[in-house]
Symmetry: C2
DNA sequence: AAAAGAATTAACCATTTGGTTAAATTATAT
DNA sequence: ATATAATTTAACCAAATGGTTAATTCTTTT
């Protein structure tokens, strides 16, 4: 890990905000520079091009997001803990960075290739999660089903409400921001309750 | 409903493709014109501005998407049918138009105001769905819970896997397109199976 | 058939945008 | 202190982009 200059950090933070809010195409280099209170040329001095700068931001965002679920496995004693931890940390993360889910989803959707390099260097092994779930099912700790399906369902329940926040806020909460916000906060408990029946009690 | 000229329809179809694939910011008027095999000036002749054209596309996309769930209620005899129908029609729709979910989510996210006018004129009443679910719970047909939560969960399970298709394909299916595709197709059954325990059997 | 109106095109325009450059300023090393 | 290297700035540039216009072709009406 190289030491980053203050300016570089300022740029990255401003770029993170602008890119996650407006996407690669919607973001303007000038706006990033303005938000970082620096000259636009500095962006190119430190990152060469818009795409390179974007890549840095995207990489950081993705690594803040995906590895969390693997971490949840490693730091949990059993499936129950795992589910609680994974759900809780995702809700916390997305409450804090509301634009993260839709940012990752839409940029991955537009340029799936970006994932390739990330996976190779990042050392992220997605298969471990599926194997873990399969294992827990074989051990009789989880209701038997396609582990991939379960994984997708858990992720769906955690991410979608945040990715679709604006939609939900308007269509289900009639535009009431506070209700919607507390609803999302509550999901830390309610997603778990929803998935609880899949956990097989010890006897 | 006014009669649309052939050219207008060509434009709308090309615009639909380009906008849903690349978003408002990423779309180029020239590309839309090229795909419709017409002169770029025609876009402005019929739709005045990029934003107006986008609005037409967005409106059509949204109306293809959201009202479906209300339709499912109206055309179903009971909750079981409703769930089956809603899930099935969403899976069909998104298999056919893979870019639809992420398109709607990201554009609503970027410009939530766009929903306002749509709701007013469209006559879409989101509250009906929540009321329907509440009613079914009161009737003892569905496990009692916050109906909003249930609605969000159903929508999450239906939409997210399509919105996150590229992510899932790469992270869970190791890039195997066919497996991922058939997995998504299978969700018509598997989402229903997943939600089935919430339906209370008649006695 | 001629006039009027609608549809279509090619050329053009102003602005925006990512990116560059050369000079100036600041920090570092000798 | 002074030379050297790193950082920062203002001015500039070429390409791209949404949009316009005036002329042309095609339709419709009378």
């Amino acid at each position: 890990m190289e030491i980053k200059s203050d300016t570089e950090k300022l740029i990255l933070e401003a770029a993170r905000k602008v890119f996650t809010e407006k996407g690669l195409d919607g973001a303007r280099m000038q706006e990033i520079a303005d938000r970082a209170n620096i000259n636009k040329a500095m962006l190119h001095y430190y990152f060469r091009s818009k795409d390179k700068l974007f890549e840095s931001v995207f990489k950081a965002a993705f690594n803040e997001f995906w590895p969390e679920i693997t971490k949840s496995i490693n730091e949990s004693a059993n499936v129950e803990d795992f589910l609680k931890r994974a759900i809780s940390s995702y809700v916390d993360l997305f409450m804090d960075k509301p634009f993260l889910p839709i940012f990752i989803l839409s940029e991955v959707n537009r340029t799936p290739d970006r994932l390739e390099s990330l996976i190779r260097e990042g050392g992220v092994n997605p298969h471990l999660i599926v194997e873990y779930l399969k294992e827990q099912m074989d051990l009789g700790k989880l209701k038997a089903m396609d582990p991939k399906e379960l994984l997708v369902n858990v992720i769906s329940l955690c991410i979608f409400p945040f990715a679709g926040k604006s939609l939900i806020e308007r269509m289900i909460f009639q535009g009431d921001k506070e209700s919607c916000e507390s609803f999302l906060q509550e999901r830390k408990k309610s997603i778990y309750e929803f998935l609880k029946p899949l956990i097989i009690a010890n006897n």
